[in-house]
């Protein structure tokens, strides 16, 4: 008999689905839980709406939404990078949000042209360089990085990383297919080593003398500045690439309301909340990301990185080039 009890418990636990709350919103997030949790807690506290969260990689959430189809429980998809946002719009995942608040607060550059998704936070793809071995005047924007004078000096992670795919896509939109491919080829020729490790590893590799210039994400720099590794930066400089044609490239995170959302009103509320001053402050001060709203006070350690000139291209314009970017990287041998 006792086996039957155990069996029943197992069966019940298998089919146990999340409790039904009357007032809830279901969030699929490609942003990791520890980054998004403070925002969710505040939203729940302020509105009394319960947020059910699932986090996974963008591509995995994408597959899940695709397979769940019209019965998908998800209300909001929160994902990072222009390419992923475009893929979601391309598969018709989102419904447009008509919100005066969002229209007013978020610049057209940082949202979809049909209001299918809205940008929420930004990370800059910038350069860290050795103060001993690189003169500041040598650095002139992204395009210049493919110049042979940097042979065996550049450190950057694998092209399988979405930050690099996004940068390549941005280059394609600026310079066209052929020129972007030549650029990438030149860049690969300048690599100090085969791409390996994460962004922090590129910075450590400068300190270890493997290369001189690392292309990394602002988020990791600030995180390193806040850790034991801080002393590394004594001999390192930070530079926001920009030249006449192209300003600094930013990776965006954004959210959209799903077309079959069971709780569309709450979903809209959640997205609006994420663009509020309070939420944007959390983005800046907890996660060290640049807010999408102009007048938000950013923390000291973000200010320390320096001033920058954003590129003017609308983000949705190069999101659609992400497939092209991946293939381009394969062709030029960017591992």
């Amino acid at each position: 008999m006792k086996y039957i009890n155990i069996f029943l418990i197992i069966i019940l636990s298998i089919f146990y689905t999340a409790k039904c709350w009357s007032n809830q919103v279901n969030l699929y997030s490609a942003r990791k839980e520890h980054l998004i949790k403070p925002l969710i807690d505040l939203f729940e506290y302020e509105t009394g709406i319960k947020v059910n969260l699932v986090t996974a990689k963008s591509s995995q959430l994408h597959q899940r939404i695709l397979r769940e189809g019209k019965n998908s429980p998800a209300d909001v998809l929160l994902t990072s990078d222009a390419g992923n946002l475009w893929k979601a719009t391309d598969e018709n995942f989102f419904q447009p949000i008509y919100s005066n608040l969002l229209d007013k607060r978020i610049k057209p550059k940082f949202r979809d042209e049909n209001n299918l998704w809205f940008g929420l936070s930004l990370r800059a793809r910038i350069i860290v360089y050795s103060l001993d071995r690189v003169k500041k005047e040598e650095l002139k924007g992204y395009e210049h990085l493919s110049n042979p004078i940097f042979k065996n000096r550049i450190l950057i992670r694998s092209s399988s990383n979405v930050y690099n795919q996004s940068l390549i896509a941005h280059m394609i939109s600026k310079y066209g297919d052929e020129k972007a491919e030549l650029w990438a080829k030149g860049l690969v020729n300048n690599f100090a080593r085969d791409p390996a490790g994460g962004d922090r590893d590129q910075i450590k590799a400068i300190a270890a003398g493997i290369g001189d210039i690392a292309v990394v994400n602002s988020y990791y720099i600030v995180n390193m500045l806040n850790s034991d590794n801080k002393s590394i930066f004594n001999s390192l400089g930070i530079y926001f690439p920009s030249d006449k044609k192209m300003g600094t490239h930013f990776n965006i995170s954004g959210a959209g309301l799903l077309i079959n959302a069971p709780n569309p009103d709450n979903g809209k509320k959640l997205i609006e909340f994420l663009t509020s001053d309070k939420a944007q402050l959390i983005y800046a001060h907890n996660n060290f990301e640049y807010p999408v709203i102009d007048n938000i006070e950013i923390p000291e350690n973000l200010k320390m990185l320096g001033k920058y000139e954003e590129d003017s291209t609308n983000i949705y314009e190069y999101g659609k080039l992400s497939f092209k970017a991946i293939k381009l990287a394969d062709r030029v041998g960017w591992k």
């Binding site: 689905t17 279901n26 059910n52 995995q60 893929k87 450590k204 394969d330």
Partner: protein, 535 residues
């Protein structure tokens, strides 16, 4: 109808195998859809590199784990040397550490300013600034030292079960211990050894976490790229088929060489092994040989993780953390029970009628070589279809919707674990059942027992070691599993592995260390129980 009842176990075995094979078949179906140009693109640019890298990883991991696993098992089973009692248990422990955690730890220790870099510079009087662990060598290192316990466990089990008579006969015939090792013990233990190495190879092929973190371009990464980055499910399906054909090829080679030989013991001659005492010097050498994999595979990463955790202990929320531990534990427990039940039935079905049930069982164990994410989507497709069907039926008849009862609950996740990990439990059950002489079944049958009684009263009891081993291995593996859990988990279910992964991907290894330690500690409990049981 009569035939069905006569062979009911075999047919039950086939049905269960088919359930497990279904997601694999679904993935293969994408072959018949026409795709876009991704396939040509991959073939022209990166596919060769991916295949070569995977092959190198596979070969060296297999050789490395075979040597370490077999040698340490042999030493532990045959000899008495200092601390043997502890070493015997410690050798299993690397199983508790996820291979991706090993990759995190060693890449950090060998990085600029890392402990090992400093140590090596000190020992060799030269300046090592950094040692590039982000390479295929790093990958081989990680796989060897995290996966050798599979070979060790199965080999140890096999050596213990080998009748002492064979060894004694060999000794009387004047063979040295060394020749007994490779002339008697290895050939007799071959199914187990090959079984272990096969698991290592499948795990290596299916791995994504290590290759992704270390930046190794493997075949599985190619599948991910095609499917998840380039959105081309057809090319991903084609690549998966190549992977499966390759694995089936290796399996059939082994089957071919094994031929018709049977590996059961003759009961009447079954005698316990006698341990051989080693003199002090050789004893210490044996100790050192067995200690090296323990130190590299367990102690160094464990200590490093503790060290990281100490600095970050304030960042955790105790309540959430215990929730996390509890849900991970339950998930792994339920999954391992389901897997072992399937495994016992399938293997027993094969035992009662090898001819009809065996091919299906072989196919069912292929799932282990499929990358977790691919298996997850293979599970998601039929279940989501079923879910939507249930919903449209219930909508039209009852005007209510149940939501996603299969894909929105633990069901889909457990199904995916079953597809992925059945091979693990089948392997251990099989290698213990294979040792049980068929004559025992016949005796029981002559005495009037039904097949189910033979299973519960004879096979399951004698093969208990293998069954608990299978249970344990799946438990530990589910606890460490990442991609399938990420894709299929329902709202509110979070696991330690996911938590650790999210921090690690965010390059916050300090925060990742705490859930990783929790995984290790949770794994230690069943490992400890097991070590008492199988003694």
């Amino acid at each position: 109808m009569f035939i069905f009842f006569k062979n009911s176990w075999a047919y039950l075995s086939i049905i269960l195998s088919l359930i497990v094979i279904l997601p694999i078949i679904i993935i293969l179906f994408f072959l018949f859809y026409s795709g876009n140009d991704t396939w040509t693109h991959l073939k022209d640019t990166v596919l060769t590199t991916y295949a070569i890298n995977s092959f190198i990883l596979l070969v060296f991991s297999a050789i490395g784990t075979l040597i370490i696993g077999t040698l340490s098992a042999w030493l532990v089973v045959m000899f008495i040397f200092p601390f043997k009692k502890y070493i015997e248990w410690l050798l299993v422990l690397p199983l508790a550490i996820p291979s991706y955690a090993l990759a995190y730890v060693y890449s950090d220790l060998l990085n600029y300013g890392g402990f090992l870099t400093t140590l090596l510079s000190f020992i060799f009087f030269t300046e090592f600034n950094t040692i590039n662990f982000y390479s295929i060598y790093g990958g081989i290192f990680v796989f060897i030292f995290s996966l050798y316990p599979y070979v060790y466990l199965l080999a140890r089990q096999a050596f213990i079960a080998q009748s002492g008579t064979y060894i004694e006969v060999a000794k009387v015939s004047g063979l040295s211990m060394l020749s007994i090792f490779y002339k008697v013990a290895i050939p007799l233990g071959r199914p187990a050894l090959i079984g272990g190495v096969m698991l290592v190879m499948m795990e290596t092929l299916a791995d994504f976490g290590v290759a992704d973190y270390l930046g190794i371009e493997t075949f599985t990464k190619g599948i991910y790229k095609a499917w998840f980055n380039l959105g081309d499910i057809v090319s991903a399906g084609k690549l998966s088929i190549i992977l499966l054909i390759f694995i089936s090829f290796i399996i059939s080679i082994e089957k071919f060489f094994r031929g018709k030989s049977e590996f059961t013991n003759d009961v009447r001659a079954l005698r316990n092994l006698k341990y051989n005492k080693l003199n002090t010097l050789i004893g210490i050498m044996a100790l050192v040989i067995c200690a090296i994999p323990v130190i590299i595979g367990f102690i160094i990463p464990f200590v490093t993780l503790i060290n990281w955790a100490i600095g970050n202990i304030n960042n955790i929320n105790i309540y959430n953390f215990f929730n996390l531990v509890f849900s991970s534990f339950m998930l792994a427990l339920v999954a391992s029970i389901i897997c072992i039940i399937f495994a016992i039935i399938i293997i027993y079905g094969v035992r009662t009628n090898k001819k009809i049930a065996s091919p299906f069982a072989r196919l069912a164990s292929l799932g282990y070589s499929i990358p977790g994410a691919v298996a997850a989507v293979g599970v998601l497709i039929p279940l989501a279809w079923l879910d939507n069907l249930i919903n449209s039926i219930s909508l039209s008849y009852f005007e209510t919707s149940f939501g996603l009862i299969l894909t929105g609950s633990w069901f889909a996740l457990l199904f995916a674990y079953l597809v992925r990990f059945l091979a693990l439990s089948m392997n251990s059950v099989e290698s213990s059942f294979i040792k049980i002489p068929k004559s025992l079944d016949y005796v029981a049958k002559v005495l009037g027992s039904s097949n189910s009684k033979i299973l519960t009263k004879v096979n399951a009891r004698i093969g208990f070691g293998g069954i608990s081993l299978g249970l344990l291995i799946v438990f530990v593996d589910v606890l460490k599993e990442l991609p399938a859990t990420m894709i299929l988990r329902p709202f509110g279910l979070n696991t330690l592995a996911i938590k650790a992964h999210e921090y690690a991907i965010d390059e916050r290894l300090g925060d990742a260390s705490i859930p990783l330690l929790a995984i290790i500690v949770v794994c230690l409990i069943p490992l400890y129980i097991l070590s008492r049981r199988i003694r």
